[in-house]
């Protein structure tokens, strides 16, 4: 099938780009066919965010969003920034970047569902349940579209009785909007050497739950961020607590994936966070109703790869526009989608050539708040490499004294290189779940509604099948069993007395991408499973 533009991923970036493309086409009285592929069973099914949402990009894209009924229902009314120690909470002044006046506490998944309706009304083909599995190239090597995933293959890859091959979608321009650490983006970065001369991307893992709380503990509009406990001072991260409408509270915990101790378990840190005396009361008498996890980009300006290549662009968090000190990515993702659409529309209407490069995309972005703010914030996150206190002090100096204009730029190291051998680290003894406030992994995954049809090839590909037993287990004590928030990786006994074997429970996967990022031997490739498989988040 032929389109003018194919967009991979129906997140805020992809949907904003689709809407802006059709708006421009309508304005110019031109026809421009746009389709959006989404791997989730429906739009929003795989979206997980905080989320405190800054509406500035939405204001620009659809200024009448209020009249159209966009699901921005809870304005932020109060900001708190807490430093937690074991048993105590100290209220710090809220840093200027973290002020949320004029922002809303939302479900980003629900916003995406609404954006998809707006896009469809403008004539965009939105196609959930169809993952893009492969990038297609023309003879010159330029991107000419993508192919969707095959359906109905057997575990060994052979064709099953209901086999349905993927479909090739050809496009004059393909926008990759896969969100943090996209699987096709990974192949494009290799093929077009998009990281040449730039540092590595770095990441965090965010784990989130939604609770229905006792109405007497509900403070709609309240936003709390925390740093400190339960993490040690070598590990970057923190918690959030956002009070939505209808007695709902979103609680989450983010751990920088540059953590060093292979015994660390982000899942258990999240559970522990909820037990802090300043946090726990919110959940007493409440009920957990949703669970999920997703990696997020933390590399900022230094982690941005080249954004354009012949035939396509990287847009949104798959490139990496999240602003770490502000903990905001969705407004930047949307703004990058709008800018990409303008760049591509201009290119397609001024030239009929195939496989050309919208190389002005980066230049256009440089003139927006997206890049300008990332520039100002560029040194804050890398400063935490020196530990929590030095990082915090540096962040304060960088923010209040230099105001982001320090005459240097700090560099990153790749997350998978930061893990230290287990023998140099302290095992961590996490408390057992109590079944009220804290839970185990499997009962949590249950609430993500994740599902992968049985009898398909495993979508977590090991490059070298021996590596887990030769490297991950003996040197790092099998860290994947701890960092995977869904219990996908499990070391199980074999017949042999003291040998353990890595078992991959792929059906539990919630598509967070952490294993592809953190595996110390870079031995895991996350690829898309069959269409529609994965979590079914009810408005995360």
């Amino acid at each position: 099938m032929e389109f003018d533009v194919v967009i991979v991923g129906a997140g805020p970036a992809g949907l904003a780009a689709a809407i802006r493309l059709r708006q421009q086409a309508e304005q110019a009285g031109q026809d421009l066919s746009v389709c959006v592929l989404e791997k989730g069973s429906e739009v929003g099914a795989h979206i997980l965010s905080g989320a405190v949402f800054a509406p500035r990009a939405l204001d620009e894209l659809l200024p009448d969003w209020r009249e159209r009924g966009a699901p921005l229902n809870t304005a932020v009314s109060e900001d708190q920034f807490l430093l937690l120690t074991q048993g105590r909470a100290l209220r710090l002044p809220t840093p200027p970047q973290m002020h949320n006046q004029g922002n809303y506490i939302i479900s980003l998944g629900n916003l995406c569902r609404w954006l998809a309706e707006q896009a469809e009304a403008l004539g965009v083909e939105v196609l959930p349940g169809f993952p893009a599995a492969e990038v297609l190239h023309d003879e010159q090597g330029a991107v000419k579209g993508v192919a969707t995933a095959d359906m109905g293959r057997n575990p060994d890859g052979s064709e099953g009785p209901r086999f349905e091959p993927g479909v090739e979608l050809h496009a004059r321009q393909t926008l990759f909007c896969e969100g943090c650490h996209g699987s096709l983006t990974k192949t494009l970065i290799d093929r077009f050497r998009l990281r040449e001369g730039v540092g590595p991307q770095t990441y965090g893992l965010g784990i989130k739950e939604v609770w229905e709380v006792d109405p007497t503990r509900h403070r709609p509009g309240q936003v709390i961020h925390s740093v400190g406990w339960p993490l040690d001072t070598h590990t970057y991260g923190g918690g959030f607590l956002y009070h939505l409408e209808d007695n709902r509270v979103a609680v989450g915990f983010i751990v920088g994936l540059d953590y060093e101790n292979p015994y660390l378990s982000p899942f258990e840190e999240m559970q522990r966070f909820k037990t802090h005396p300043a946090i726990r009361p919110v959940f007493e008498g409440g009920k957990r109703i949703a669970y999920g996890a997703r990696a997020l980009v933390e590399g900022g300006l230094q982690g941005l790869p080249k954004l354009s290549f012949p035939g396509g662009l990287l847009v949104g968090d798959t490139a990496g526009f999240l602003d770490v000190p502000r903990i905001k990515g969705s407004d930047n993702a949307m703004k990058s989608g709008i800018t990409a659409a303008e760049s591509v529309f201009n290119l397609l209407t001024s030239s009929a050539a195939e496989g050309i490069e919208a190389s002005d995309f980066r230049r256009r972005l440089d003139n927006t708040w997206v890049i300008q703010e990332l520039h100002r914030a560029r040194n804050i996150r890398p400063g935490f490499r020196w530990g929590f206190w030095a990082g915090l002090a540096h962040a304060a100096v960088d923010t209040y004294v230099f105001r982001g204009r320090a005459p240097w730029t700090l560099r990153h190291q790749a997350d998978h290189e930061r893990l230290r051998p287990a023998r140099d680290c302290q095992p961590i003894d996490y408390p057992r779940p109590d079944g009220n406030i804290t839970f185990d992994r499997l009962s949590s995954v249950f609430l993500s509604n994740t599902h992968h049809e049985e009898g398909q090839p495993v979508h977590l590909k090991l490059r070298d099948l021996q590596r887990p037993a030769l490297l991950n287990l003996p040197v790092y004590e099998g860290p994947e069993a701890r960092y995977c928030p869904a219990g996908v990786y499990e070391y199980v006994e074999t017949g042999d007395a003291n040998a353990l074997r890595l078992q991959i429970n792929a059906q539990n996967c919630v598509h967070c991408k952490t294993c592809d990022i953190k595996d110390p031997g870079q031995n895991i490739d996350w690829v898309v499973p069959q269409g529609g498989d994965g979590p079914n988040y009810p408005g995360m």
Binding site: A45, P161, V167, D434, G435, F446, N449, G539
Partner: protein
Amino acid sequence: MKVLVPVKRVVDYTVRVRPRSDGSDVDIANLKMSMNPFDEIAMEEAVRLREAGVATEVVAVSIGPAASQDTLRTALAFGADRALLLETEESLAPVVISRALAAVVGEESPDLVLMGKQAIDDDCNQTAQMLAARLGWGQGTFACRLEMGDGEVIVTREVDGGTRIVALKLPAVVSTDLRLNEPRYIKLPNIMKAKKKPLDRRPLDSLGVDTRSGIRMVSVAEPPARKPGVRVADVGELLDKLKNEAQVI
């Protein structure tokens, strides 16, 4: 031969549901909704009959809210020729649905009604039987095999302890069981084509059927939670707990 396939929009089978906090109903806000899996099986069978040249027209019908259009689009992407939505915001019991379907049958005059044996939301397993009774047609429920004969349909039914084969004179009502077929994966081009197929929308009122069911939902509650397990140090402690705490041995 014309086949009518009633399809229901239900909470997707992968999604966990829970009661609303006031216990008035199941909370379905923002949940993923899909075509009832047994209706997919009925759709698949109807489309196979169409492809085999036995059926000449397949019509999908749904009774439900405006969003049931999505479910009907899926039916059209499967291969239905056209679709009919009878809109209502009320959640209706099988006794009412069967009344409405009987009225649709009156308008459409199908030779065969192929439908799911039950919907996975209320699991009633009543609509097909009630419809057949209202129409005075033969019924073949729990079908795991279906063969078209001359003016009749031969249905292999799943019954306790085996299968039972019945021959029904057409027109007839058949309800599908899990083993009848495995529905196909829908092709992407067919989803795009489905957007252009005819989908007729009318208020349910236009059928003039009585929507009272005589049934009132009192409350919805979760089953009691299982107590968390405890870890015991050794067999002795386990025996002790079984004997003295649980008092089961």
